[in-house]
């Protein structure tokens, strides 16, 4: 069992990691008043420009790590540091792509993408030029005046991506961004994500259930243990060459090899999580 195949390719001491979580524990108070520990003693380090995928069973606190990095939540214990600065308030230079649609339904596609620069005080004309440029890059030229409900799910995801990337974040956090898309659209979006990532090379933390997606996209795959109290079980370096074609890379022997290794680590956690949910179901039923 790979209990801790720790990352050996640490960035040099001269460059501070883009993201550093040290001994982070996060507790929530549930509406019934009890305390739920989502994360326990978690260490995570992401270098600048590194694409890190986090996989783990349901309810292991994957999404919670993202809220800690973005500054939407604070750790109960331990420290969250971004570019050497402790996180306080919303972390500047962070983009967040949510699992559900978070584009503003009452704004046109153009206004949605331009909103980041507008919030930061860029004049409207300049912001619109940048927004058109990013819409072209995500393949939505010609859809500027549509409202989000007039777009398909995949197109709304592109809007969300453009909306985040226009701010040129140094850190891009993605919370199962493609999980609501159909399989084909998902593969296409993954490819496009890699191309877009290559443009500005932010550090990415990509949370997903899908191990194939994680390996195909990432430089580093982090496996979390089953919650409550999720923590890092193992870290795997993905040494597949870039540029990658997401739809085809899964046939490479090295991909299959990595998949086996990581699945070995993940399987027992998935089993534990599954046993927990069925336990809960059984106690509720009886």
């Amino acid at each position: 069992m790979h209990t801790s195949t720790q990352s050996t390719a640490r960035p040099g001491a001269d460059s501070a990691p883009a993201i550093e979580l040290r001994g982070v524990t996060k507790r929530f108070t549930t509406p019934s008043g009890s305390v739920y520990t989502a994360l326990k003693d978690l260490d995570l380090e992401v270098a600048p420009g590194e694409f890190c995928a986090i996989v783990g069973p349901t309810g292991c606190g994957k999404s919670t790590t993202l809220t800690l990095v973005s500054g939407l939540e604070r750790p109960s214990l331990g420290t969250a540091t971004v570019h050497g600065e402790p996180v306080s308030g919303i972390t500047p230079g962070v983009g967040f792509v949510f699992q559900t649609d978070a584009v503003l339904p009452w704004k046109s596609v153009l206004d949605n993408v331009a909103i980041g620069p507008r919030f930061r005080g860029t004049p409207k004309a300049t912001a619109n030029v940048a927004a058109r440029d990013w819409l072209r890059r995500v393949g939505l030229a010609g859809f500027e005046d549509r409202f989000p409900h007039q777009l398909s799910g995949g197109m709304r995801k592109r809007v969300a991506l453009a909306q985040s990337l226009i701010n040129e974040p140094e850190i891009l956090l993605m919370d199962e961004p493609f999980s609501a898309l159909d399989v084909q659209t998902r593969a296409i979006m993954s490819n496009e994500l890699l191309q877009l990532w290559d443009l500005t090379r932010p550090a990415v933390v990509f949370v997903t259930h899908d191990l194939e997606e994680a390996i195909a996209l990432a430089d580093k795959v982090v496996v979390l243990t089953a919650g409550p109290g999720g923590t890092v079980k193992a870290t795997f370096e993905i040494d597949l060459l870039r540029p990658r074609v997401v739809q085809e890379i899964r046939f490479e022997p090295r991909f299959v090899d990595l998949y086996h290794q990581i699945w070995e680590a993940l399987r027992s956690e998935v089993d534990i999580a599954y046993a927990q949910t069925t336990d809960v179901a059984r106690t509720v039923a009886s």
Binding site: A102, L104, W106, K107, G116, P148, H149, Q150, G154, S164
Partner: protein, 279 residues
């Protein structure tokens, strides 16, 4: 890139399907006509029944009025004006009170509702009660507009408050991360989202505004529809009461039409309601 492009309605259709469509549309038209005719028939039956029931009996006329008398009364008012001045003036006075009160009440309701919804400290119930007391004591001033404001305020206020509470947390988180300040998030996310709730309350609130103005005029006024109703009531003129109520109804429906237009304009980002099965 073209895999997930939502195409607008296909343009090149075969002649067969366009013929089908034509037949379908013709059926819809026939159906709509049938509905209109039925509605008209019901109206005729109701009015005719009313007229026959009263049958010129002067006691019943005093109690219930009669459609022909109402029509006469309306004609007199339109042609010769009311005892208080021209009919247009009465409507204008009432509308003025209702509309001024409606706007102030709505504005206050929206501002208070959103402020309380956004700033948790203000939602402390004692502070809410404070504003209630101010409004309640203000009633001592016999002003129709104030009455309208009070009536309109609460409907709009609670809807605005609830609307703020119902805003999708994801949207707020997203806008915050994109760099929105608290005010910017309120302006670009909370307000538009809460507007669906607020607009819904405006339909009811305008009804309240009219009621407020008319009740206010009942209590004391020299002009207005409420005064007109009171005078008609005082002289046992049931036809006059009905006629004034009819005018009120028309005014309310017109206002409703304007509010619906406003709603469609402000909420044009919403997906159109698709016609589903009749359940």
């Amino acid at each position: 890139m073209s895999t997930d492009v939502a195409q607008p309605t296909a343009t090149g259709e075969s002649t067969e399907s366009s013929e089908n469509q034509r037949a379908y549309r013709a059926m819809l038209r026939r159906r709509r006509l049938l509905v209109r005719l039925t509605q008209f028939a019901v109206l005729i039956v109701l009015l005719g029944g009313w007229q026959l029931f009263v049958g010129g009996d002067s006691r019943k006329v005093i109690l219930y009025g009669e459609p022909s008398g109402i029509a006469n009364q309306l004609r007199t008012w339109v042609e010769h004006g009311t005892a208080l001045g021209s009919l247009g003036d009465q409507i204008r006075v009432t509308l003025e009170e209702a509309i001024i009160g409606f706007f102030i009440g709505t504005a206050l309701g929206i501002v208070c509702g959103i402020a309380l919804g956004r700033i948790r400290f203000l939602a402390d119930p004692r502070i809410v009660l404070g504003s209630v007391f101010i409004l309640a004591f203000g009633l001592g001033i016999e002003s129709k507009i104030l009455l309208v404001i009070v009536l309109v305020f609460f409907g709009v206020f609670f809807n605005a408050f609830q609307g703020v509470r119902e805003v999708d947390r994801n949207l707020i988180a997203n806008a915050t991360i994109l760099g929105g300040s608290r005010w910017q998030v309120t302006r670009h996310v909370v307000l538009p989202s809460a507007f669906t709730w607020i607009i819904a309350s405006l339909h009811v609130s305008f009804g309240f505004a009219l009621i407020g103005a008319i009740v206010g005029e009942f209590l004391g006024a020299s002009q207005g529809l409420g005064r007109l109703i009171r005078d008609a009531q005082g002289t046992f003129n049931a036809n006059g009461v009905w006629a004034a109520m009819l005018i009120m109804g028309i005014v309310a429906l017109t206002a409703e039409w304007f509010i619906t237009r406003l709603e469609n304009r402000l909420l044009r980002w919403r997906p159109p309601q698709l016609s589903g099965p009749d359940l």
